[in-house]
C-alpha cells in the first residue's frame, strides 16, 4: 500500500500563478523525491531533498520538507502551460532501493 498521500488531487491555475501541492508520508525517511509525468507516460525526476534539508530550490521549483510533520510541499512559481502535468512524491521503502509513489496531483495551467 502507498505510504504517501498527496493533496490536492487536482489543481487548476492561470498561467503566471503559483502552484502548491503537498505530500504526507507515514514512516521515517532519509530522502523524498518529486517527479513529473506528462500525458500519462514516463516520469521525469524533478528534485530530491534529504532528511537533513528543510528547503531546496531548482529553477522555478521550491521544495520543503518537515520531518516532524512527515510532510513535504512542492511550489511551482510563475507557472507556464508546459507545467501542465501530474506531480508525484516518492519516498524510499525500508530496503532502500524501492520507492513508494503517491497517487499524484494533477496540475492544469490555463493560458
Amino acid at each position: 500500500s502507498q505510504q504517501e498521500e498527496e493533496d490536492p488531487q487536482a489543481l487548476s491555475i492561470q498561467e503566471g500563478e503559483n502552484a502548491t501541492m503537498n505530500c504526507s508520508y507515514k514512516t521515517s525517511i532519509n530522502n523524498l523525491q518529486w517527479y513529473r509525468q506528462n500525458s500519462g507516460r514516463g516520469l521525469v525526476h524533478l528534485i530530491l531533498i534529504r532528511s537533513n534539508e528543510r528547503e531546496k530550490h531548482s529553477g522555478r521549483l521550491r521544495v520543503t520538507l518537515d520531518t516532524s510533520k512527515k510532510s513535504s510541499s512542492l511550489l511551482i512559481t510563475a507557472s507556464r502551460a508546459a507545467d501542465t502535468a501530474s506531480y508525484f512524491c516518492a519516498t524510499p521503502l525500508s530496503n532502500d532501493y524501492k520507492l513508494s509513489f503517491g497517487a499524484g496531483t494533477t496540475v492544469t495551467v490555463r493560458a
Binding site: Y35, R41, G42, L43, L48, Y97, K98, L99, F101
Partner: protein
Amino acid sequence: GAGVSQSPSNKVTEKGKDVELRCDPISGHTALYWYRQSLGQGLEFLIYFQGNSAPDKSGLPSDRFSAERTGGSVSTLTIQRTQQEDSAVYLCASSLRGRSTDTQYFGPGTRLTVL
C-alpha cells in the same frame, strides 16, 4: 542509448493471450525497475533487478507475471493469460546503482489494453 526505451508503445490484446513488454535501460545502469500504473493512480512496484543479484519479485501481482533481464541489460516483462484487470501503463526505469538516492530514469511506458 540516450534514455530508457520501451516497446511496444501500445499493445491491444485479447483476454487470455500472452504479451511481452520490452525495456532497454540506460547503458551502464545496474538497476532496473518495472512499475504498473492504472488509470489515475500512482505507480505500483512490480519487480527490481540489480546486477547479477536475485531479482526482487515481491510486487508481481500473480504467477501470470514474470520478468527477465538478460546480460544485465534488456528486460522483458511477460504476462500470461492476460485479464482485463491487467490493462494499465507498464513503466520501466533504470538507475545507476539502485540506491534510493539515485534518480530513476523512466521510459515512455507501454499502454496495455486487454479486451
